[in-house]
C-alpha cells in the first residue's frame, strides 16, 4: 500500500536459445540439445535452452503419442532427478536440478495439445496468443455471436435485478450458451486440422509453413476469446444461483 519501492512491470518471456552451454565439469563445449557432456559424460548445465520438442528428442510436430511422451519423460527423469545426484559435486547437483525442472515443464507443456501449439508458436517466433486476452478486440470471425450474446446477457442481468423468474432466466442463459459451445467445437476441429497440416509440411516452402502457423495463432486467439465468453456466462449462472440462496 504505502510501498516506497514500486512493483515491477511484467514482460513477456523471451525464448532465446542462443549460447551453447559449456560443461561445468570439464569445460568442453556441448551442443544445446545434449543432456550429458560428450567429453566427460557428466550432466550438463541447462544453458538457455528454449525448445521442448528437441529437449525430449521429439521432432517439431504437433501429433505426439501420449505413451511415447510419458516413456521419454520417465526415462529422462531417471537420468536427471536430484535423487541420484545427492552425492555429486555442486555443479552437477545444480545441473540436475535445472534439467529436471526443465524436463517437468517440457512434459507438462507438451502433454496438453493447446499449450503444445502455444509453445510451437513461441519457438517459431510468433507473438504469444495469450497476451491478447482480456484487452483484445473481438476477433472478426466472432463478431456476430459476441454481439448477440452481449445483448442477451445485458437483458438477463436487467431482468435478474428486477426480480424476474430465476428458472426462466436460467433456461435463457443455457440457450445463449449453445451457439458459443458450437463455435468452440468448430474451433477444436479446426485446430486439429491445422495441426495435421503443420505436421505434413516439414518439406514445404517456408511461406506455407508460416501461413499455417499464423492460422493456428488466429484460432488460438479466437479460442481464448471463446473461453472468456463461456466464463462470463458461467459467472452469470452462479450469480443467478447465489440469488437463489438468499
Amino acid at each position: 500500500m504505502s510501498d516506497p519501492i514500486p512493483r515491477g512491470v511484467r514482460l513477456q518471456p523471451d525464448y532465446a536459445s542462443d549460447a551453447a552451454p559449456e560443461c561445468r565439469t570439464c569445460g568442453a563445449g556441448a551442443p544445446v540439445d545434449e543432456h550429458f557432456c560428450p567429453n566427460c559424460s557428466r550432466i550438463l548445465a541447462l544453458g538457455r535452452h528454449g525448445d521442448y520438442f528437441a529437449f525430449l528428442g521429439l521432432p517439431r510436430r504437433l501429433t505426439i503419442a501420449p505413451q511415447d511422451l510419458e516413456q521419454r519423460f520417465r526415462d529422462l527423469s531417471r537420468k536427471f532427478h536430484p535423487d541420484y545426484y545427492y552425492n555429486a559435486p555442486p555443479a552437477e547437483r545444480l545441473a540436475s536440478l535445472e534439467r529436471s525442472s526443465y524436463l517437468n515443464d517440457a512434459y507438462r507443456t507438451l502433454r496438453n495439445p493447446v499449450s503444445r501449439i502455444e509453445h510451437l508458436l513461441a519457438i517459431e517466433g510468433l507473438p504469444s496468443a495469450q497476451s491478447a486476452t482480456g484487452t483484445a478486440q473481438v476477433p472478426p470471425a466472432l463478431l456476430e455471436e459476441v454481439f448477440a450474446l452481449n445483448e442477451e446477457l445485458d437483458e438477463i442481468r436487467e431482468q435478474r435485478e428486477s426480480g424476474a423468474d430465476k428458472s426462466a432466466l436460467g433456461t435463457r442463459l443455457s440457450k445463449a450458451r449453445q451457439p458459443i459451445d458450437r463455435k468452440r467445437e468448430e474451433h477444436e476441429q479446426q485446430l486439429a486440422e491445422l495441426a495435421a497440416r503443420w505436421d505434413s509440411q516439414e518439406q514445404a516452402p517456408a511461406g506455407d509453413r508460416r501461413a499455417t502457423l499464423e492460422a493456428l495463432r488466429e484460432r488460438l486467439l479466437e479460442r481464448n476469446y471463446i473461453n472468456n465468453l463461456l466464463a462470463t456466462i458461467d459467472r452469470e449462472v452462479s450469480s443467478l444461483q447465489a440469488g437463489d440462496l438468499q
Binding site: V9, L11, R78
Partner: protein, 635 residues
Amino acid sequence: MSHVVGIDLGTTNSLVAWVNNGVPEVIRDRSGDALVPSVVSVGEDGMVFVGREAQRRLLTSPSRTVYSVKRFMGRGIDDVRDEAALLPFGIGGEPGGVVRINVAGRDYTPPEISAFVLKELKHRAEEFFREQGEFDFEVDRAVITVPAYFNDAQRTATRDAGRIAGLEVLRIINEPTAASLAYGLDKTKRGTIAVFDLGGGTFDISILKVEDGVFQVLSTNGDTHLGGDDIDNILVQLVFKEIVARARRSLGDGGSGARGGPEASAPRPELVQAIRKAVIQAKLDLSELDDAEIIVEPSPDLPDGYRRRITRAEFEVLIEPLVERTLGPVRLALEDAGLEPRDIEEAVLVGGSTRIPLVRRKVADLFGRPPHTELNPDEVVALGAAVQADILISGRREMLLLDVTPLSLGIETMGGVTSKIILRNSTIPASGREMFTTGVDNQTAVDVHVLQGERELAADCRSLARFKLRGIPPMPAGLPRIEVQFQIDANGILSVAARELRTAVEQTIEVKPSYGLTEGEVERMLIESFEHAEADFAARLLIEARNEAETVILATGKSLRSPDLEDVARTDLKPGELDRIRAALADLEQVMTATDRELIHEKTHALNHATQHLAEVMMNRSVREALAGKNVTDV
C-alpha cells in the same frame, strides 16, 4: 558410514524407520513400542520430557505440556487464534510473525518443540544401532515427511526443526507419497492409485500413477487442519457441555455449589486433558466395538467423575460433517488429475483416523471398491521415508518418486492481483521465470511479494516472502530486463534468484520469510540446542532412574502383599527386617518425584539391598511348595 533414517513427524505420534538389507523396518524401543507421542513437557526445573513421559504429564502439568505442535508449524498467530483458545498451553507471537508457545516462562517456536521430538527419535535410533553392536551408531541424516498439502513455510519450518535437532535433512517428502513407496515396494505395481491420508491433524489425498518403478504424483489436495484432533474436540465439547449441564442441574436442586463444579467459561486445563484422554479412549474403542463408554475419573475439578455410554451410530452422526469435509479435496484432486473416481484402481488408507469404520465406508463408496487396509496405517509413512532415504544414499535407480507442488506459486502484481508463475500440481523440481522491467525512470529497485495459493487476489493467498531487487542500473523506465527465477526444489521448498539481463548485473535479494525463521534464528537455536544437550541427557537419565525405581517398588509391593508374608517373617526373617524394608520403600517413594537422579539411584539400591534376603526366602519357599506339590500328585 553413519546411518540414515526415515522419520514420520506426526501430529499425534512420530516414528523412525530404516532400511535393513533392502527391507524397511520401524525402529522400536525395548518394549516393542514404535510410536513416540509428539508431546513435549517442560518440568519445574527446565528439564524437558518427550514422548510417553510427556504424555503422562498432559494430565498433571497441562500448561507445561505441548501437544499437536505440528498444527502450528510455519503459521502465524493470526492463523491459529481460534484454536489457541482451546489449548491448555500459552500461544502468542507478534501479529504477522511466527507462533510462539509459552511453556514454563519461556517462549518456544514450533520448530524448537518439534526438534525435541526429532531428538528423541534420533536417540531411539542411535540406541537401537548401538545395541546391534555397531561401532558407528550415530544418526545425523534423515528424510522427514510432511503432509502433501503443507505450504512452503510449513515445509521450511519442518526442515528447520530437523536442523535444530542436529539432523541433516536429506529430503522433505510428502506423507501420502511416502506411503505409496512402502506400499508398492513388494510387487512390481503399475496402475492408478489414490492415497487417502487422515492423520491426527491433517488430511491429504494424492493420486499417483505407478509405472516402471516411477511413482508419479498426478495431483494432490488436502486440508492441513482436519484430522483426529478435530474429532476429539467434538467429543470434548459434547462431554463438557453435559458436565456443565449436570452441574447446573445439581445447583438447581438446591446444591450450594461450594464444591466448585466446572465453569462454562474457562475449564481448567487439567479437566480438559482428563476429558480429552477419556474421549480418545472411547473413540479408539468405537473402531472395534458398537458401543463404548467415556469415563472421566473423579478429580478435584469433577468430584463425581463422569460416565457416558456412546454408540457407534451416535458417534458417526457427530463426526459425519468432518468426514464429509474430506470429499471436497478428493474431488478436486481427481479433477486436477483428469480422472473419474472409477479410474482409481487401488485406494490406500494411511493415518490412524482411517481406522474409523465410517471413514473406510466413505472411501469405499467414493471409489466403488474396498480400500487397502493390510498395511499398518501408523507405520507405513515412516517406512516409505526410510525407503526414500535409502534411494538418496545408495543412488539405486529402480524406484523414483516424482511429486508435485500442492499450491500455485505467484507474485503480487499491480493492483494487488496474484500472477501465477508455477501452477499447483506441477511436478517438482519446478522452475518458473518472470521478466520484469521498471515503471519509472531511473528506478533502481523493485519490490517483489511472493505468494502461494489459488486465489485471484494477493490478500487471499499465503504470503511467503517479500524481497527487493536492488542495484538495477539507472535507465529509462521499461528498459531494464530483470529476470527473476523461482526454483522449487525436490523438497517443495522455494528459492529465488534474479539478474538484470542488459548489464548482467546480479541482483542482491533479501528474502524475508513471512512466517518462518531467519537463517540467524535457526543457527542460534541450533547452538542453544547443543547447550541444552547436557540438560536433555540428564532428563533422560532421570527418567531411566525413575523407571528402574518403579520396577523395584512394584516388586517389593507385591512381596509385601503376599498372604504368606507373616508366616515368612516369623520363620525366616530377622527381627525388624520387615520394618527396615517398609522404611526403605517409603524412602524411595518419597524421592520419586525429585529431580535428583543420584538420590533416586541411592534409594533404589537401598531398597534393593533391603529386600534381597526376603526375595530369596520367598523364592525358596515357592520352589519348595512347587516341589512339594509335585510330590503329592506323584504319590
